[in-house]
């Protein structure tokens, strides 16, 4: 049977499991979070691992901040075998230490770097494409549906940028809400909340139509280039981008 090891779904939990597996000299068939449902020929293993609270600090010292960031971004990705990639990355990092990030000849490293770039880029794109609506009580509300789990990256950005506003960002696909109260934000599961119907502020409609007018006007017809636009602004995001949602 192929052994699939389970972790609690957290980044620290995953790293603790990986270090333990390496200590046991165990090469897992795969590593998955606890919600994983196994397929034929797979056996799920969930065991108590020694927990090191300082694991992030220790890894940062040993592998360098950059390498730790890389595996964190891989962790946020939707990549199918991300846990396994992180496992092999850590395994090799124990040997190469801070030089690990240059070892692009290793598949786990080149893949991890590629995936982390993808996550960072999507987080950056969301900072631009996210659209707030102003609710009646002045709270700003936005819905996003990113491929990767970038709600923390996005929230950090808006915490700095719109520190004097109340805002809520909802990741529709993952059912997550990031709620900010002018001091800090928390990310919670949507199922713990009941939403009454959202009522928009009086100014909202006017501003939305002004923005749409601006958007339509600013494009130069003689240079029209739909392919280029789609490259920069993929259609998968359009549903939540006010000025192009009508074009879908």
């Amino acid at each position: 049977m192929d052994k699939v090891y389970l972790y609690d779904g957290s980044f620290v939990g995953l790293l603790n499991l990986i270090l333990e597996l390496i200590k046991m000299n165990e090469r897992p068939y795969n590593i998955k979070d606890e919600l994983y449902s196994s397929s034929l020929f797979e056996t799920l293993i969930n065991f108590d691992i020694p927990w090191d609270d300082n694991i992030l600090k220790n890894m940062r010292l040993s592998f360098g901040k950059y390498a730790l960031d890389v595996i964190y971004y891989v962790f946020l990705s939707e990549e199918n075998n991300k846990e396994l990639i992180i496992y092999y990355f850590v395994l090799n990092a124990l040997k190469f230490h801070k030089n690990i990030v240059y070892r692009r000849d290793l598949k786990c490293v080149s893949e991890a770097l590629r995936i982390s770039q993808y996550v960072i880029h999507e987080g950056h794109k969301m900072k631009g494409f996210l659209r707030f609506k102003e609710l009646e009580n002045k709270v700003l509300y936005a819905e996003i549906e990113p491929t990767n789990d970038v709600i923390l990256l996005v929230s950090d950005h808006f915490k700095r940028r719109l520190c004097n506003e109340y805002w809520i960002i909802r990741d529709v696909k993952r059912g997550l809400l990031s709620i900010y109260n002018k001091k800090k934000y928390i990310v919670v599961l949507e199922e713990n909340f009941t939403f009454s119907t959202l009522i928009l502020s009086e100014e909202e409609k006017e501003m939305e139509s002004l923005w749409k007018v601006f958007y339509k006007t600013i494009g130069i017809d003689a240079r029209r280039n739909d392919r280029c636009r789609r490259n920069f602004m993929p259609k998968k995001y359009w549903k939540y981008i006010l000025e192009v949602e009508d074009e879908l």
Partner: protein, 402 residues
């Protein structure tokens, strides 16, 4: 006039300015509205595929000048409008809070005098900064001919200040923009350069040239750019393919804007700024225009095949930069990786090298990608042009639509 109507007129007349970048400034939010991202953020992309980062508008499209190429010239019969400072502030703040934009790009037609227009711009931006506590990105146009005092005031409340040279030579300017003098733009750029600091135009200055409205060659244009980068420490020169908005005997009768040419100029501009190329590496009197078939770097490499193939594992950073298909990022990756291991051809793709292009010009651990007898100009050129053909035909398809 309704606000929506005004916005339509004043965005429409601002859209030919190519610059929309919001990078290079580090404003930290001190309990106000907004901050800036050093890398800049694109919030949307318009139907022409250009990034929308800033609310790009004119204060007014009324103008006392009569520049031939400009939609807003005095002699044109177009609807005129003017924003009040309050209106601009209200739209900017509301767009910003909803995350439509990174900030404001404010320019204006000239009304009454350059000084008068500058004062209006300053009044508007001061209102936005002080009353509305806006701390996001602001790019303002400096009006040539306005006093130094006003330039100082405006520069201390914006992130970027720019003045457009519009045309690469003084002759072109005399012909098409008789009210403008290159000297006045130079004066602005000089002033901004001399006073540049964290408090004065922190994101630096940029400028724009119109491509294809006059007869200047690519060599004229690139020489002007290079000269300005050196002299004024510009962050960017933008190139804007001339789009015929007016009919005039002095203007060329273009059917389509010269987009391929514009693209070549941008590619060459990057080579100047990041790849250590000089204008005379790329162009000279007997060869004053870029090859439309291949990009400037490949064109250069094909003319200097004696410097190739370069060994990836040993050539210097600057030599790596000269290889078509190798960019700044991939060159840096190669340098840091090859300290760890010997790079093989199969590793290069993972480093972001465009192998399709680079393979003709490199050796990897002593090996050429194919029989080294094929390392000949004719072979390489033919292959590259064929490989690019698909792309070119798509571009042509798009141009034919107009």
């Amino acid at each position: 006039m309704e606000l929506q109507e005004k916005l339509k007129i004043l965005a429409d007349s601002a859209k030919y300015d190519a610059s929309c970048s919001s990078s290079g400034s580090k404003r930290v939010n001190n309990n106000e509205v907004g901050n800036t991202a050093v890398s800049g953020i694109c919030h949307s992309f318009s139907s022409d595929g250009r990034c929308i980062s800033l609310l790009k508008i004119l204060l007014t499209n009324s103008c006392i000048y009569d520049c031939k190429y400009c939609l807003n010239r005095k002699s044109n019969n177009v609807r005129r409008a003017m924003f009040t400072p309050e209106e601009i502030c209200r739209i900017t703040i509301n767009f910003y809070r909803r995350n439509y934009i990174e900030g404001l790009f404010l320019s204006s037609g000239i009304i009454k005098s350059p000084d008068f227009t500058m004062e209006l711009l300053i009044e508007t931006i001061l209102l936005l900064r002080n009353k509305y506590h806006f701390n996001g990105y602001i790019h303002a146009k400096a009006i040539p001919g306005a006093s130094e005092l006003l330039l100082k005031k405006l520069g201390s409340i914006v992130d970027r200040l720019s003045a457009n040279v519009e045309l690469p030579t003084e002759n072109g300017l005399k012909l098409l923009a008789p009210n403008k003098e290159g000297k006045k733009v130079d004066k602005i750029m000089n002033y901004v350069k001399d006073n540049h600091s964290r408090k004065f135009v922190p994101a630096g200055q940029s400028t724009q040239m119109i491509i294809g409205a006059t007869k200047e060659s690519d060599l004229d244009i690139m020489s002007k750019s290079s000269n300005m980068y050196d002299k004024y420490n510009l962050k960017r020169v933008f190139y804007s393919a001339y789009i015929p908005v007016n009919k005039d005997n002095l203007l060329p009768n273009l059917v389509t804007p010269p987009l391929v040419r514009e693209n070549r100029l941008y590619q060459a501009d990057w080579l100047l700024r990041f790849y250590n190329f000089k204008v005379d590496d790329l162009l000279n009197e007997s060869n004053p225009n870029f090859n439309v078939l291949v990009d400037p770097k490949t064109d250069w490499a094909l003319r200097h095949l004696d410097e190739f193939p370069k060994e990836i594992n040993s050539c210097s950073y600057y030599e790596l930069l000269k290889i078509p298909g190798v960019g700044v990022k991939s060159a840096k990756r190669i340098i840091s990786s090859r300290r760890q291991f010997t790079i093989e051809l199969s590793d290069l793709k993972r480093m972001g090298v465009v192998l399709k292009r680079a393979k003709y010009f490199i050796l990897c651990n002593g090996k050429y990608f194919t029989n080294s007898a094929f390392f000949k100009k004719n072979f390489i050129e033919a292959n590259i042009i064929i490989e690019d053909r698909e792309k070119i035909s798509i571009n042509k398809e798009q141009l034919r639509l107009f």
